[in-house]
């Protein structure tokens, strides 16, 4: 088990960093062996600042639509405050409502026959085969080693091909100059953006803001974790319940799955 772990690490990185990584992962493995209550996902989540995101981790989200209610906007509000858009910003005042940033939206689905409705939060699905990355002409859209799909705004030219390619309508474009960005969430005019799984929080071992807010309210409709770790809450839950990918027919293998639809 340990050996396969090491060899997969070795393939993806140069030998020098490999040594330090080996040490780190070795240490993590030892810790797991020492304390049975401790899970590898937590150790992997508390990634040291000088270590790159690891391909051994595969971040994912599971949404329980049965627990999500129509009136609640806790996840959207938390995202806006954390990432500085919508209510979290005073800058996007001249854009039309349809133009404004939407990192996360609440979507209502209704069964035409029975009239049964489902409420679900929709955001970047962090696909394994992201079409936004395929179409990006500059390489600004990319997938990090741990599966998080991001926009490198340094090289984004604002062409918005990715917005057209995304079947989930997850991305938005900034139309006006911004001034009150969050310290760890740079955003700017002329670039495209979308949910980052709160990468700044994930890198310091925390849960995304929406997940935390939902849990705080007691709804617990959102579960976030490492899909590669069979011991993680999300992986266990996915073996127990039926969950679906939205637009599974496109074979994008999104890392966000929905339960109850």
């Amino acid at each position: 088990m340990k050996e396969t772990h090491y060899s997969s690490q070795q393939q993806s990185s140069p030998p020098q960093t490999d040594l330090s990584k080996r040490k780190w992962i070795g240490g993590a493995a030892a810790l797991v062996a020492l304390s049975p209550g401790l899970r590898l996902v937590e150790l992997a989540a508390a990634k040291p600042n000088d270590q790159p995101a690891s391909s051994a981790v595969r971040w994912g989200m599971l949404v329980d639509t049965e627990r999500c209610t129509d009136s609640c906007t806790a996840c959207v509000d938390a995202c806006q405050l954390e990432n500085g858009w919508g209510k979290g910003s005073t800058d996007e005042s001249r854009s039309r409502a349809t133009q404004k940033a939407h990192w996360i939206r609440k979507v209502k689905l209704r069964d035409r026959e029975t009239g049964k409705t489902h409420i679900l939060p929709l955001f970047c699905q962090h696909c394994e085969n992201p079409p936004c990355v395929d179409v990006c002409p500059t390489g600004a859209s990319f997938k990090r080693a741990d599966g998080i799909v991001l926009v490198d705004k340094h090289i984004c030219i604002g062409c918005r091909y990715c917005m057209m390619a995304c079947p989930y309508k997850a991305r938005s474009f900034i139309h006006e100059a911004l001034h009150d960005q969050r310290v760890l969430v740079p955003r700017g005019k002329g670039t495209v953006e979308s949910c980052t799984f709160c990468v700044q929080r994930v890198d310091r071992g925390e849960q995304p803001a929406c997940v935390e807010a939902c849990a705080k309210l007691g709804n617990k409709a959102l579960t976030f974790g490492d899909l590669s770790d069979p011991e993680s809450a999300i992986a266990k839950q996915r073996t127990e319940v039926t969950s679906r990918a939205i637009r599974a027919d496109l074979a994008l293998n999104p890392r966000v799955r929905y339960q109850g639809i």
Binding site: P52, A53, E82, G84
Partner: protein
């Protein structure tokens, strides 16, 4: 013949004198211009951080290389998720941002502040702050 020779000699010496005078006038004008330019664009008085005594590298290296450090760090952080503090822009801002009389942070790209004063003097545009926060703490709640 004699007259002609004398005339030729005096013309030559007069010519030499004129050239020397020309040079002198040129030097004086140049000096005046340089001093005028210096008077028009004073070397910026850069506000320095009060808490920290030294930067992450000696001043001479930072002056020439700070953008290389930032470029390198930006790709490491953005693409690979390496978030070391040393060469991060957040670290620059957290140290170099000044506070006003009300103890509120002044945006680092505002006129006369650390980044802008030097960049204005050297006429190099910075576009970091079209996206990045200009103060070390977020203006509204969240972080």
């Amino acid at each position: 013949m004699k007259m002609a020779g004398k005339t030729a000699g005096s013309t030559r010496s007069a010519g030499v004198q004129v050239t020397f005078l020309h040079r002198l006038v040129l030097y004086v004008m140049l000096l005046a211009m340089v001093s005028l330019v210096r008077a028009a664009v004073p070397v910026p008085d850069i506000p320095l951080p009060q808490d920290a005594k030294q930067c992450v590298q000696p001043k001479s290296i930072m002056r020439r290389e700070h953008f290389n450090f930032l470029y390198h760090q930006r790709d490491e952080t953005m693409r690979r998720g390496i978030r070391t503090k040393r060469y991060s822009l957040v670290n620059c801002v957290s140290c170099h941002a000044q506070k006003d009389a009300k103890q509120q942070y002044i945006p680092i790209n505002e006129k006369g502040q650390f980044c802008s004063s030097c960049h204005e003097y050297t006429a190099v545009k910075i576009d970091c702050f079209e996206c990045h926060a200009t103060v070390p703490v977020s203006k509204s709640a969240g972080q």
